[in-house]
Amino acid sequence: MGSALILRLIAQRLALGVLLLFAVSVLIFAGTQILPGDVAQSILGQAATPQALENLRRELGLNDPAYIRYFRWLGGVLTGDFGTALSNRRDIAEALGGRLWNTLFLAGCAAVISVPLAILLGLLAVRYRNGVIDKAISGFALASTSLPEFFIGYLLILFFAVELQWFPASSTVFDTMSFGARLQAIALPAITLTLVVLAHMMRMTRAAILNVMQSAYIETAELKGLSAFDIIRRHAMPNAVAPIVNVVMLNLAYLIVGVVVVEVIFVYPGMGQYLVDHVSKRDVPVVQAVGLIFAAVYIGLNMIADIVAILANPRLRHPK
């Protein structure tokens, strides 16, 4: 029956995701090898003696060919060993742990606010299509896709942290903090992130629902004399769930990227800030590690979106 076909399609999609992740790891590794000169030079600076350079190269294994270094790096990554940072010689995996959690917490909070809000506003926009609410919503969407994250972020800081002093201007968090205090600390960055993705998610939700509502089978339901509520519940929702989940996943992926800038604005100790710091220090192992993790989350969310679409398609669930 259908389940075998579905399992096969999902297995295929998972395999594709893994393949993609490997290809991305190659790309990220290759991307950091195009440097003119080498890592040893950039660590020790122009004044380094040839002997010192040679020692460092040997220590870092830079004399091996690129593909060997790649597999050594990949082997490490697969066993949870991201190597050591060049700038401070600390273990990367250790430094990442807490930061990854912080980033996911922030992104999660933003998602908890933005997803229901976006779907609600999207539904409202469809319900009052071409009306005042719809126009206001699409005007807001146009404006907010044009606003850089730091404009929203600093505006919020100026009002809520400096003028009103409701929230702190920089989101310092530490392990012993209570949950409530933590929430207060990340309120502003979470709102900023929400505003950044909200418009996009809402616009896509609106389009997805509208697409379903304009189908011929909705007209059939109307001509059966069903109430508007029943039409939406019985006929629109089962078909709209997949596209909406798809929209949500794509926007969560988008949110993960938005996190980078927002963390810098609010000096929040997450992955994004860690990445940006080490890009300026040209600390390649850290950049590779963080880049790969961001890419993995992004690919994972896109994969979930595709799998939901497979699961929700009645043609695949019930093949001929």
Binding site: T220, L223, G225
Partner: protein
Amino acid sequence: MAEQPRKKVQEAARGTGTLLDIRNLRIEATVYPPGEDPKNVVIVDDVSLTVERGKVLGLIGESGAGKSTIGLSSMGYGRGGVRITGGEVVLNGRDILGDERGLRKLRGKEVCYVAQSAAAAFNPAHKLMRQVVEATLEHGVSSREEAEKRAVDLFRQLSLPDPENIGDRYPHQVSGGQLQRVMTAMALCSKPDLIVFDEPTTALDVTTQIDVLAAIKKAIRDTGVAALYITHDLAVVAQVSDDIMVLRHGKTVEWGDTRQIIEKPKQDYTKALVSVHAIDHEEHAPTPVPILTVDNVTASYGGGRVKVLRDVSVDIHPGQTLAVVGESGSGKSTLARAITGLLPPESGSITFDGRTLANRLADRPKEDLRQLQMIYQMADVAMNPRQTVGTIIGRPLEFYFGMRGAERNARVAELLDKIEMGKGFADRYPAELSGGQKQRVCIARALAAKPKLIICDEVTSALDPLVANGILKLLLELQAEEDVAYLFITHDLATVRAIADSIAVMYRGELVRYGPKGKVLTPPFDAYTDLLLSSVPEMEVGWLEKAISNRRMEAAGN
């Protein structure tokens, strides 16, 4: 203009006769032309009609005649921002307009709807049975158990296969012809007084169409439901209707009982509709040397995996027409692709004007390309929307004959004249032309190359009957003037009768019957040709019953 049938007056006196009474209906819509201010257009203007209990009224007209809009108005429904702005719709003795809550109680209970594309009208997420009984349960007509039992009965009445279990399937698991019948069952299930059939057989293949038509007719008769039957095909509507109303541009042209409309039409427009296809074309005898010979051609897609053409051999004679007939999937368009070189044949050869054609398009000399032209089904996508008519017709002149400037323009004007359009059209863009004009421009473009053979791929099937007729007449005239041969691909046998000198019947990639027109259309027939011939609706009351009882082969897809 409207002809009031006399018996309406008599039955109205009895008080039970009239089910639906539409008076002076006016329907408008707002259109938004790009870059202009929105404007109002009148879609239906002052139309009145009545339907008696248990009777079928056929609404017929070209696209844009307003027939679907009228049909939906009987349910108080306007599709896509269409507004009913005048008149009354009286159903079961009460005016239904302006009472939104009352409309909901009436839809699905008193009036049901059968759409043109059942495939789109069913919700892909639910099983058929759930959708079939939904309106019955919603309106509390009967319990679920009874409703499902009635649905199964209806499936059986409509000769659906496996009536007990077909309801457990999802829409995409059932063929188009079957789905159309399930939708009819869905409309009948809540025991409505009236069903609106909106072109229910138009999207089906011709051999499937007549089965569905017969099933619908039987179901209407057995249940005693009244119906509005909407179609653009007069021959189809003549089979199921008691009365017919002819519509054009949103106005009534003529209204009368079926026999009168078919046999003694009063208005010129109706007369033209009835006599469409009545082109007399004497067949020419084959010449000794054919212009094109297709010899044992086999072709397939996907590197030999799907054979779409098997061992096909046909001849086309200079200045004559070979019609290739068949249903979708018969391989008739593939034959054209093989001849043009778009799909190089696997085996067999094609000889054109005494020389063998290269298999691949890229290997053919320009002269071969010039002498073999093509006209497409959809004229609007066959022309570059960014080029003017002058450029479109002028390009082959430039490309093949190196004509430039005034010489080219003069020839373009001449060609425009030939297709009965003035030279003023040279500056127009395709978007500014009507459907028929577009196809004429495509014909002119083909003629510009001075070809010996033109492949016509379903060139009239996207057009309204009268326009299509004009195109066929033009093609015949041009053939006489230019001595060009046609390979005419069509699924429509009426068109074949009108234009062909010889006929090739194709079925599942093979040639099943081939020869001069007179011979092919004379019995004894093979089973498939018989099915095909007997499936073409004729403008004759009672034809359907005769055809069904005489056929020897079951149509595919049932």
